[in-house]
């Protein structure tokens, strides 16, 4: 079709303007793809950091405890019995089960005092579920039977503490009396989840149970599953607990990550807004291009009409040109986006640029947010970009084609 050929050849006219339009579209695509990548990366890393350093895949607790779990009350604690252990042992797909006793405490270094969250853990079982041990930057995790503590580096810096220093944890027992845990620091951790680094003190489970006077009570069990899909495990545990009448419930990590998930959902709205801006930029570029081309080619349009071209045929010529610009802009944008996302995936974006770790923004990420690949975003954006280019060229093309032939031919 000759009109198609003419539309394509017209792409070689006004090279500078076409290049600028293509570049603007490409830059808009790049911005969107990088933003999308960083948001997806943030989500992936956040979820990994929650699972691997805070909750595990599944948590088991009494519903009464779970509802007020953030209050760290010492009520409705679990007392592991044979039935509970059987339920868990008979469930397939578990890699590790870590009992935890979470409690409020005030950490005292002899001079200052700060409110922290104490976590009593059974170190061997904890290490089967969580990866904290890999991020001990000074000293070590305490050994089984050893009465020592591990704290985050940020907390240590805040309280001017180092390995082998003694700390005092002031706690309130189940009888509402005060007690203290005097304990030596075995190691300092700098985990990828900044929440671990900022305000948590890990102590041996037996030490915590004794100090809090809760006998064998634990707050919950944190479970690591073989696969990322914990729903099967949750269902199996729920059935088992129900059959045995234990009154326990299994919760997905997602329930403890509600705020991060809410942030992720809000992010999708933000990405939608960015997408709208990107498409608007593309639309303005295309409309501007078609209008300027039509103004420059007024006499040519008149000649086309004199030759007997119908309006839709002239519209088609301009639409082919506009679509070509959209396709070239989209391709360039995807190529730039590929390079940009590759860089983000490899090097990440340092949170230092926005003034510190993600904890300040409620994001469980420490140093860097790495990008994540979202290949469908490339094809989606490219397709949408081409569709928008076609649609946004219709009106200005029609405006160009609708010119009065006499006025167009004798236009000066």
């Amino acid at each position: 079709m000759f009109s198609f050929k003419l539309g394509l050849k017209n792409l070689t006219r006004q090279k500078r303007r076409n290049f600028i339009t293509i570049f603007v579209i490409a830059f808009a695509f790049l911005s969107y793809l990088m933003m999308d990548s960083i948001m997806n990366g943030m989500e992936e890393i956040s979820f990994d950091n929650i699972i691997n350093y805070d909750t595990g895949n599944v948590q088991v607790a009494y519903p009464e405890y779970w509802e007020d779990r953030d209050e760290l009350f010492l009520e409705n604690l679990m007392d592991l019995n044979r039935d509970m252990e059987e339920s868990i042992e008979n469930t397939d797909g578990l890699l590790g089960v870590s009992p935890e006793l979470r409690f409020k405490a005030n950490l005292n270094n002899g001079i200052d005092e700060v409110s922290v969250r104490g976590v009593g853990i059974s170190i061997e079982k904890y290490n089967q579920v969580f990866g904290t041990k890999n991020y001990v930057v000074e000293g070590s995790m305490f050994a089984p039977g050893e009465s020592k503590a591990v704290i985050g580096v940020r907390l240590a810096e805040l309280m001017d503490l180092k390995v082998s220093d003694y700390i005092t944890l002031l706690v309130r027992t189940t009888e509402d009396t005060f007690n203290t845990i005097d304990i030596e620091i075995a190691g300092l951790v700098r985990a990828p989840n900044p929440m671990i680094n900022n305000g948590i003190v890990f102590v041996p489970l037996e030490v915590a149970q004794e100090a809090l006077n809760v006998d064998n009570g634990i707050s919950m069990l944190a479970i690591k599953t073989v696969t990322g899909d914990e729903s099967v495990v949750i269902k199996a545990l729920a059935d088992s607990f129900k059959n045995k009448g234990l009154g326990l419930r299994a919760y997905s990590w997602k329930e403890s990550a509600a705020s991060v998930i809410a942030l992720s959902t809000a992010k999708k709205g933000g990405i939608g807004a960015i997408l709208s801006i990107v498409l608007l930029i593309g639309m303005i570029g295309i409309v501007n291009n078609v209008i300027l081309s039509a103004l420059e080619r007024t006499e040519e349009i008149g000649m086309m009409k004199a030759l007997g071209m119908r309006e839709w045929e002239i519209v088609f010529v301009f639409m082919v040109e506009a679509t070509g610009i959209g396709i070239l802009g989209g391709l360039a944008g995807c190529l730039l986006g590929y390079a940009g996302v590759s860089w983000l995936v490899k090097n990440g974006y340092s949170l230092a640029y926005i003034g510190g770790d993600g904890a300040a923004y409620g994001i469980p990420i420490l140093d860097k947010i790495y990008g994540a690949w979202n290949y469908p975003a490339f094809s989606f954006l490219f397709s949408l970009g081409v569709i928008i280019a076609v649609l946004s060229s219709i009106l200005p093309s029609y405006w160009a084609a609708h010119k009065d032939p006499v006025k167009a031919i004798y236009h000066r």
Partner: protein
């Protein structure tokens, strides 16, 4: 046989509240194969008359018949189809498409009406380019051609679809005397060989010299209509 017939054709342009008459009642008959020149001072209505004849514009009053078909009150679409199949145009400023070669500029016109094979179209285009003396320049773009060569491409574009009528609005105005003479020679040759009807508007005495019919337009009316042997 009458190819073109105008009866009491008037054209009035509205400029704000003022009505400006461009044609005040033109009666004209043009036979097939005529080589006619319309001349007159600027503002006499030459271009307006050509636009009416070329179905680019419609008269305010009166009737135009092309090939015995009334075209003065056709829709925009029907006018476009009439132009496409029956009329070729040659403009003063050539109006070639700069991104297309000489060959493609001519091919563009025939592709609109001829849906035969690419080979047949190629033969037609090369033949007409050869006839206007552009053999060997087919692949040049307009910016690589002289003014005379550009106008020859425009003539080839007008003639390739073998229209019954070719309208040329001051076709030699931008050319030097040699190129102007060449262009008029080509059109005369086509008029003789293809029996195509030509109507010019011009100020150029050289073009008028070749015309076999001279129509003098003055103040929107035909003041003289002279036929030569």
């Amino acid at each position: 046989m009458s190819l073109l017939e105008l009866k009491e054709v008037k054209k009035i342009y509205q400029q704000g509240k003022i009505k400006v008459p461009a044609l005040r009642g033109v009666d004209l008959h043009v036979e097939e194969g005529e080589f006619t020149t319309i001349f007159g001072p600027s503002g006499s209505g030459k271009t307006t008359l050509l636009n009416m004849i070329g179905c680019l514009d419609t008269p305010t009053e009166g009737e135009i018949r092309l090939n015995e078909k009334k075209v003065s009150d056709l829709s925009r679409k029907a006018l476009a189809m009439t132009r496409r199949h029956n009329i070729g145009f040659v403009f003063q400023s050539y109006n070639l498409i700069p991104v297309l070669t000489a060959y493609e500029n001519v091919e563009f016109a025939i592709r609109l009406i001829d849906h035969t094979s690419a080979l047949q179209i190629k033969e037609k285009v090369l033949k007409i380019l050869d006839e206007v003396g552009l053999n060997g320049l087919e692949n040049r773009r307009p910016n690589e051609l002289s003014g005379g060569e550009k106008q020859r491409v425009a003539i080839a574009r007008a003639l390739v679809k073998e229209p019954k009528l070719v309208l040329a609005d001051e076709p030699t105005a931008n050319l030097d005397s040699k190129n102007a003479a060449d262009v008029v020679d080509i059109m005369r040759k086509m008029n003789k060989e293809l029996k195509t009807t030509f109507i010019f508007s011009t100020h150029d005495p050289m073009v008028m010299k070749y015309a076999r019919r001279l129509i003098n337009l003055k103040d929107g009316m035909i003041s003289a209509d002279e036929r030569r042997g």
